[in-house]
Point group: C2
Chain length 205, copies 2
């Protein structure tokens, strides 16, 4: 238990620093500039804090929204993980090894998105899902709030259904091999690393 | 050890999907549009994969660079953590509890940046630093590659040195209390969560 006086200290800082008003200064107009509609955009805002201070920040949008995403660590009955392999802008080898994941659609629940992305990217479904972690991905510039799940009894039920510009392979290995792929520098995504780490308490018992 | 045949399978997918050529389609011109220079910007590119496929993606820049960052989990001789409290766009309470962190400057080493940010944001320095994790923060849209360190024997040596629009409080609590602040929803940053999780192997022994 967090000591009561510590929680009080923390709450006093939150009270002092909380944002009480927001003004939009600029909305970006990249859409009109780029040859084609853009996925990324941002807006600029002035935030008024409860302590009287003011700060200016830019807020990133993905497809005009927050960019909330969901991912799954799927584990088969044999205790194997299903990992994805896909080209990524952020990857040492230009190809990332990671977990099935994707953006949450408007009005979609995060878990539904995780299940949908798992099936689209790999053709697998799981029997049970457990929340491993939830978090902001880049809280200085974005309100993207993401969910990471552990999926158990993963089974192949169909084919991949990829978008036209999605190129994804998938890959089955043991959980311990997946942890080693982090150490070997193949799994480089912070979210995949956190999910694999948090899953230890469930799997390595 | 990852089985040799698994590593071969993985490498064949990487070979197939790797990016072999990149064309820039558009560079954003937000700087001319916004009233003031912007922190965020993006460019649009066409990526040619080794398998003959082509994908178009937008790449996020922060201050014209990758946005590489570094963070520290500082632990005092008594085993307490130093946490930061600051207003954030991505935070349930509009204020985030997290770890001292910041962007790596041009030609700066990640560890130097972590040490600098720790001292600027809290006035603390540590005696020893250990790498906890390194990762891409948002590999679908960004090449930001971040480093998370554990700092030991943290000692207060001076005052905070904050930028004009930085408003940061700091906060000392036990490591177990910090873990509980994750569960209570105060620590919501994926990077802080990963650092706290990875530190378990060093601290909870």
């Amino acid at each position: 238990m967090v000591r009561r006086e510590k929680l009080e200290e923390l709450k006093s800082y939150i009270e002092e620093l909380k944002i009480i008003k927001m003004e939009t200064l600029d909305t970006s107009k990249q859409k009109e500039i780029l040859d084609s509609p853009s996925f990324l955009s941002f807006t600029k805002h002035r935030y008024y804090l409860n302590n009287g201070k003011v700060m200016t920040r830019e807020l990133l949008h993905k497809q005009g929204g927050n960019g909330n995403a969901a991912l799954v660590l799927p584990i088969t009955e044999d205790g194997n993980c299903i990992l994805t392999v896909e080209p990524r802008l952020g990857a040492t080898r230009t190809v990332a090894v990671g977990l099935p994941a994707g953006y949450v659609e408007r009005r979609e629940e995060a878990l539904k998105a995780a299940i949908r992305e798992l099936q689209e990217e790999t053709g697998y479904v799981c029997r049970n899902y457990y929340l491993l972690a939830k978090y902001y991905q880049d809280p200085g510039i974005s309100q993207a709030y993401n969910y990471a799940y552990l999926g158990t009894e993963a089974k192949k039920v169909g084919k991949q259904k990829l978008d036209s510009e999605e190129f994804i392979r998938y890959f089955e290995c043991t959980y311990k091999e997946a942890l080693e792929l982090v150490d070997l520098g193949y799994i480089e995504d912070v979210q995949a690393q956190l999910a694999l780490e948090k899953a230890k308490q469930y799997i390595l018992k």
